[in-house]
């Protein structure tokens, strides 16, 4: 048994243990934090499995963004008077049969997953062979934007629908100020003046690198979201109840870019979703990054738009 496998075993045990705590715990706040930890362990597992793209995405989105959203929602619940720690109740009657059934489910899934035999001509292998046709160096990005662009376009639609849904649910509720932070305090000031530009740079780097190396619009968008969340949390930008045109355009940019390029291919007599060149990849990725960042920041702030705080 090598060290590597030992690390794998530890990570695996951590995953199972953390998930159990997250699912069955009684203190919500603690368990959300544990969930973020769980996400980070997953990210580590990705890198162990040789998938740095995923590790980046998981850390930024799976753990970071999801965790931040969870914590924010938690705060709103608690502010509204919800209990943090659930009263100790007897586990419901169905707990035991459900546990038994899920146990069986686990066994079945494990059995099936271990029985998988990879075929030599799997799609992934063909992707690597055909990578040249895409004009991109990163096979994952090529799949996302070139070979299976339809999935990614519809995924942007999912993101948009989630935001529209949240807007519909929020109704006329004014989001209000989130947090009272005096951004003239040295620490916050430093944070804003240094961290924000740096995250922006990282995002742009990830975006540009994504065509050939690990990274891409998702990861860049997530990092940029971090910047947005920071601005919201420090009160540099203020949530608003009505979306202006600029916000709306930013929100739909990713999907719109995809739709325009994907549909115009048809008008030009090519197959739908064909990209006319590498510039289209950059265009779409930039638009996607902006849309992801703005959408997620708005979802985080439960707002329809953001505007700079006036002194």
């Amino acid at each position: 048994m090598t060290i590597g496998v030992l690390v794998d075993l530890m990570l695996a045990l951590a995953l199972v243990g953390l998930s159990l705590r997250v699912v069955t715990g009684r203190a919500l706040f603690r368990d959300i934090v544990l969930f973020i930890l769980f996400g980070l362990v997953i990210a580590l597992s990705w890198s162990r499995l040789g998938a740095p793209d995923l590790a980046l995405a998981e850390a930024a989105i799976g753990a970071g963004l999801t965790g931040a959203l969870m914590l924010m929602a938690y705060r709103r619940l608690v502010a509204g008077g919800a209990e943090d720690v659930a009263p100790r109740r007897r586990p419901p009657l169905l707990a035991v049969p459900v546990a038994v059934l899920t146990g069986a489910l686990v066994a079945l899934i494990g059995l099936a997953a271990l029985g998988v035999e990879r075929v030599p001509d799997a799609a992934g292998t063909i992707v690597l062979e055909e990578l040249g046709a895409s004009g991109l160096g990163n096979a994952v990005t090529a799949v996302l934007l070139v070979f299976r662009g339809l999935d990614t376009m519809l995924e942007m639609a999912v993101l948009l629908v989630a935001l529209l849904g949240a807007w519909a649910v929020l109704g006329e509720v004014h989001p209000g100020r989130l947090h009272q932070v005096d951004r003239r305090t040295p620490l916050v000031g430093a944070l804003l003046t240094t961290v924000a530009p740096v995250t922006l740079l990282i995002a742009v780097h990830l975006l540009l690198a994504g065509t050939d190396a690990p990274g891409g619009a998702f990861q860049a968008g997530a990092v940029l979201t971090g910047c947005g969340v920071l601005l919201v949390l420090t009160g540099t930008v203020r949530p608003r109840a009505a979306a202006g045109l600029a916000t709306k355009l930013l929100v739909i940019a990713g999907l719109a870019a995809f739709v325009m390029i994907g549909a115009s291919a048809v008008a030009l007599g090519r197959a739908p979703m064909s990209l006319p060149g590498t510039w289209a990849v950059y265009l779409i990725e930039t638009a996607m990054m902006l849309s992801i960042a703005v959408t997620m920041t708005l979802l985080f702030a439960r707002a329809r738009a953001l505007e700079p705080e006036r002194a």
């Binding site: 998988v116 629908v161 649910v169 739909i252």
Partner: protein, 486 residues
């Protein structure tokens, strides 16, 4: 021509949705209407090709599977697209009044509505397991968001339950997709079917996938989310959820079973699915009978009607396939009419408690008529599309000596009659203190606006389908699953 047509079906509503989000409010209505009116032009060229017995295939971005994704339109997909077109156009007519595009509520409704239409189209034509997952999520999320649009607590709770169970179901589906991809190296529905052997892995993957789809399709006992979700949603949303969105999961299930090697599950699994369907018919109908609210009654009726589709799996004959496909169309049209009529009555009476319906026929006659006509089809009485479907299904069951299925189908019709006539009888009842004699100035028929017109239009279509079954059956026959002969 077909590539453009197919692209139009997906892109036109999508573009319109984006424009409605960003453009000034007054542009919303013309943009939405224009996009909707282009849809027939997308569907027609596809129909011409499929009618010739061909299948439309479009490789997206020009990459054939397993590398890329294909859109594939055969007769089954085309049938569902036609159902979508009819339901969506008429329900949109309703929504133009019930959610005026320039209003605050309309601004929330229309983008979701248009994206939902695009995603339903994208789903029906998709032949890729993972792409189906994405479209399924899109359809579910849009549906949930539209349920919650009204903002009432009960609607929110219903949306919440639907969302949680829907997401769980999607993950089951996705897990199975992963297993199938690992084993076959492709995500294309048909290639998976060709490459899959019927080993334990295939069985487990299929079981997971079927479980997920049964949740999405609200097949008893996995239906708990449906009644409130459909019953508490705004009228046009209820209509399209019951007519199309639940069918989407059944559509994938049928595809999987008959085109992609799902039948490897064997007779036992097919029988189990059929028994669940029978349970759905009986339980849904009985529950509908005991409801005290109109829209909940209609929602439970959907639970029951979905059960008929499941009878396809044990029967598994050409006749049953025809019957079930026809049933999906007939039920879609009739149920959309029923929900629109119910929503109109709710709007007019202020509540959909059944007691409030007493005497409703005198002031809201058009909506009661629409409900009743749709009810004829739901009961499976002639002349209606529902009758043709039940006839074909009964015949299919009879020819295979499936006496139990025959009994269940008949029982389902009778139980449907109980809940449909219960509603209509209340509407016809004399209110307390009213008299048999005409009151001065009483207006019969009720207000005839576009919301009532939409309900009536669909209801009349549900009836007319009973006389125009031949072309639809001919279309269905052009897309029978492999191994079934016309």
């Amino acid at each position: 021509m077909t590539t453009e047509a197919l692209a139009l079906l997906v892109f036109a509503p999508l573009v319109a949705g984006l424009v409605v989000i960003a453009a000034p409010r007054r542009a919303a209505a013309p943009v939405a209407v224009a996009a909707l009116l282009t849809l027939p032009f997308g569907l027609w060229p596809l129909t011409l090709v499929v009618w010739r017995g061909e299948t439309v295939q479009v490789a997206l971005a020009g990459f054939a599977p397993p590398l890329g994704i294909v859109w594939r339109v055969d007769a089954l997909a085309l049938t569902m697209l036609w159902l979508t077109l009819v339901v969506v156009l008429v329900v949109s007519l309703h929504a133009l009044t019930s959610f005026p595009p320039a209003s605050e509520s309309g601004q929330r409704f229309w983008p979701l509505w248009l994206i939902l239409i695009a995603s339903v189209h994208a789903l029906f034509v998709s032949a890729d397991l993972f792409n189906l997952y994405v479209t399924l999520e899109l359809v579910t999320l849009a549906g949930v968001a539209m349920i919650a649009i009204g903002g009432k607590p009960a609607a929110m709770r219903a949306a919440m339950r639907y969302l949680l169970l829907g997401l769980m179901a999607s993950l089951f589906y996705l897990l199975a997709t992963a297993l199938l991809y690992g084993q076959t190296g492709t995500l294309d529905l048909y290639q998976v079917g060709e490459r899959l052997d019927d080993g334990a892995l295939a069985l487990i993957a299929l079981a997971l996938m079927v479980t997920g789809l049964l949740v999405k399709a609200a097949i008893v006992p996995l239906h708990v989310w449906l009644p409130a979700a459909h019953g508490k949603a705004p009228g046009p949303v209820s209509a399209v959820l019951s007519a199309l969105v639940v069918k989407v999961a059944l559509y994938i299930l049928i595809r999987l079973w008959f085109w992609s090697g799902g039948a490897a599950g064997g007779d036992g699994a097919a029988l189990l699915l059929g028994l669940l369907g029978a349970l759905a018919i009986v339980h849904g109908s009985l529950a509908a009978i005991t409801q005290t609210r109109l829209k909940m009654l209609v929602a439970y009726s959907t639970v029951a009607q979905l059960g008929y589709v499941m009878l396809l799996f044990p029967l598994a004959s050409t006749a049953a396939f025809r019957a079930v496909t026809f049933h999906m169309v007939a039920h879609g049209v009739a149920k959309a009419a029923m929900f629109l009529a119910a929503a109109n009555l709710l709007h007019a009476l202020g509540s959909d408690r059944l007691q409030r319906l007493v005497g409703a026929d005198q002031r809201h006659g058009v909506n009661v008529l629409a409900f009743a006509l749709a009810g004829v089809s739901i009961m499976g009485l002639p002349p209606s599309g529902g009758f043709v479907a039940k006839w074909m299904l009964l015949e299919a069951a009879w020819r295979q000596q499936g006496w139990g299925w025959v009994a269940v189908i008949s029982l389902g019709s009778l139980l449907a009659a109980v809940y449909v006539f219960r509603v209509v009888a209340l509407a016809f009842a004399q209110p307390k203190g009213g008299s048999v004699r005409a009151s001065v100035g009483a207006r019969g028929g009720g207000r005839f606006d576009t919301t009532a017109l939409a309900a009536l239009l669909l209801a009349v279509l549900a009836i007319l389908l009973g006389f125009a079954s031949a072309p639809l059956v001919a279309l269905i026959d052009r897309g029978l699953p492999p191994g079934m002969l016309p």
